[in-house]
């Protein structure tokens, strides 16, 4: 196992800048998730770590040693691909052992390690089959196994769950977490799925347009998003976000949004008269009287997801989503009072959190 450090990684494809100045440090044994929308450069970054693509600038270090000049096979990393990329002409056992065979490991120990990995993943009875005869979930395990057998310094996982159907995915996610706890390996995991990122990662790296927007523990990313992109990208339903102005009236801080005003008393911010964005998560809004700030919203539509309900309402000239308990009974057109705790409000100035 090893720690991984990226220093100022930059990559261009023609005129398109895929990555610009990416810095990252992943501790030994950490589960690091690269999260971002498609095209954000996360897969390119993974390929650069593997050595499949060469960066234009910057450096990749394993345990503090640069591996930039090493070919993929000499970096001692293992990768699990989104498409699994199993060798269709080899049996599962040969797939698992291929990396060891290429490294000249004696046959006997290949067999032992293949068996060990297969036992860990529960695929011993598949060893004599070919990838074409396996189900999606089984292939996924074989792909994982192929990486594990090698005992590499770093695991690189490129959206390994995205080809599984939704029900299977939740199960495999849990197993993956347990597996990591068992083998304590350094993992770099690429995904566009925030649930995977939040549940799996010790460290989540949010990326967009080839840049890192925030690095942090999942709770931090959720509770204290660094900017409006992270704020809206993480969380479902999306955070409510309003552009407006901070005003001080009667020595009390106000946010003047589009057609409504929000009382922010108690907050210490020195940005009066400036244009800001205010974000409120749907679950941070209370329904009914009794809180600090009271707003009136008009119910437009209710979506019921079973365990809870989401109320889509008009607030001033904007819209608003509120999480409500499943027992809540509202009608479209109804006016409801809402309360918001100023300390649960996220305020962004020029896109950055303050």
């Amino acid at each position: 196992m090893a720690s991984l450090t990226l220093k100022g990684i930059t990559k261009r494809f023609g005129k398109i800048v895929a990555l610009s100045g990416v810095d990252l440090h992943v501790e030994d044994g950490q589960f690091c998730v690269l999260l971002g929308p498609s095209g954000c450069g996360k897969s390119t970054l993974l390929n650069i770590i593997a050595g499949l693509i060469l960066q234009d600038e910057g450096s990749v270090l394993l345990d503090g040693q640069s591996v930039d000049r090493l070919a993929p096979r000499d970096r001692d990393v293992a990768m699990v691909f989104q498409s699994y990329a199993l060798y269709p002409h080899m049996k599962v056992a040969q797939n698992l052992g291929f990396g060891l065979r290429m490294r000249g490991v004696p046959k006997q120990s290949i067999r032992e390690r293949v068996l060990e990995a297969a036992r860990l993943l529960g695929i011993e009875d598949l060893l004599d089959r070919k990838p074409g005869d396996l189900s999606g979930g089984q292939r996924q395990r074989v792909a994982m196994g192929r990486a594990m057998v090698r005992r590499p310094r770093v695991f690189l996982l490129d959206e390994p769950l995205s080809n599984l159907d939704a029900r299977l995915r939740a199960g495999v996610r849990l197993e993956l977490k347990q597996l990591h706890r068992q083998i304590k390996s350094t993992i770099i995991y690429v995904t566009h799925d925030q649930v995977e990122a939040m549940t799996l990662g010790d460290q989540v790296v949010v990326m967009r347009h080839g840049k890192i927007h925030q690095i942090g523990r999942p709770e931090t990313i959720y509770e204290r998003p660094a900017d409006t992109f992270v704020a809206t990208f993480i969380g479902s339903p999306e955070m409510n976000l309003y552009r407006g102005r901070l005003l001080r009236k009667d020595d009390r801080l106000h946010f003047q949004g589009p057609g409504f005003s929000l009382d922010l008393r108690g907050l210490q911010i020195n940005l009066e008269e400036s244009e800001v964005e205010v974000g409120i998560r749907p679950e941070d809004i209370g329904i009914g009287q009794g809180g600090t700030t009271i707003l009136q919203a008009k119910v437009e539509m209710i979506s019921n997801v079973g365990s809870e309900k989401y109320i889509h309402a008009h607030l001033g000239q904007g819209t608003l989503t509120v999480r409500a308990p499943k027992e809540a009974a509202f009608q479209p057109g109804q006016i409801i009072p809402l309360t918001i705790d100023p300390h649960r409000v996220h305020i962004f100035h020029e896109g950055r959190r303050i």
């Binding site: 390929n47 593997a50 050595g51 499949l52 070919a71 993929p72 096979r73 970096r75 990393v77 293992a78 990768m79 691909f81 989104q82 498409s83 699994y84 990329a85 199993l86 060798y87 269709p88 002409h89 291929f98 990396g99 290429m102 490294r103 990838p131 074409g132 005869d133 189900s135 999606g136 292939r139 192929r146 090698r150 080809n163």
Partner: protein, 282 residues
């Protein structure tokens, strides 16, 4: 009677008539080639309109004469040698070349791909005279190994292009996995690309074999010594030397035709199966 039904009936009739027409025009020459090769010269001269073959009068003499008196045993072995060597060289070079054009980044890759196609279109007749002059001058012309190099040049562009197109359909992740697992680029070609491309390699090999086996112009122009003749060259030689004994020419034609047809009909089925199916995403 509805229009749909009426037209369906017409189509059915046209289909039967058409199939019979095509079967006759395609099969008859081959039928005639075989039937005539078993006739005696007297039979051919006396009853040229006899479509059938009298089982009791089957005459193998033409084959005996062609194989043992006209040197066709030698021509067969020459043709086998030329064709197999052409296939081996052409498929090998096309595999590595096709891989380079598909997967490796280098300047001029695009131009390379297009010039391959351009060369494919070059007419043999434009090449044959200068090559004839050049190799006559060097005294190398009457050589079966030179012929192999000529066939290599004739087949390589197409073979490379065909394999390039196939390699492009292979998922690059599989090769990435190989690189990470410890293969060099050549190792990736040998252990991953070639096994995955078996159907494409087989069809390219078959195509190359066909070109080399059937080739007439260069063999006709280059080879002077009968011991070096390929089958096609030998058939022409035979046809020029015997005027009336059509049964000999037909027996020679059967000898050159049967191997390639059998090979094609036998392998046609094996070629359809794609190997990658099912190995990728579920």
């Amino acid at each position: 009677m509805s229009r749909e039904y009426f037209e369906q009936t017409i189509i059915r009739i046209l289909r039967v008539v058409g199939l019979i027409f095509f079967i006759i025009i395609v099969a008859f020459p081959f039928y005639w080639m075989i039937v005539s090769s078993f006739k005696s010269l007297g039979e051919i001269l006396l009853r040229p309109a006899n479509l059938g073959l009298d089982i009791r009068k089957i005459d193998f003499h033409a084959y005996y004469a062609v194989l043992f008196e006209h040197g066709f045993l030698q021509y067969i072995s020459n043709s086998v040698y030329v064709s197999i060597l052409t296939v081996v060289l052409s498929v090998t070079l096309a595999t590595v070349g096709g891989y380079a054009v598909t997967r490796l980044r280098f300047r001029g890759r695009k131009i390379m791909s297009y010039s391959i196609l351009l060369i494919y279109m070059f007419p043999a007749i434009v090449l044959v005279i200068p090559l004839y002059v050049m190799f006559s001058r060097m005294g190398l012309r009457d050589s079966i190994n030179l012929l192999i190099l000529v066939y290599l040049a004739q087949t390589l562009p197409v073979a490379l292009y065909m394999l390039k197109s196939y390699f492009q359909t292979l998922p690059p992740e599989m090769e990435h996995a190989g690189l990470i697992d410890g293969c060099s680029r050549l190792g990736v070609i040998w252990r991953i690309v070639i096994p995955l491309s078996a159907p494409a390699l087989a069809s390219v090999a078959l195509y190359t074999f066909m070109i080399a086996w059937n080739e007439f112009l260069f063999a006709f122009m280059f080879l002077d010594t009968p011991e070096k003749f390929t089958l096609s060259r030998g058939v022409v030689q035979l046809a020029q030397s015997v005027h009336l004994s059509k049964q000999l020419v037909m027996a020679a034609s059967v000898t050159v035709t049967i191997p390639i047809l059998v090979l094609f009909l036998f392998f046609e089925r094996c070629l359809v199966r794609g190997l990658t199916a099912g190995a990728m995403k579920g």
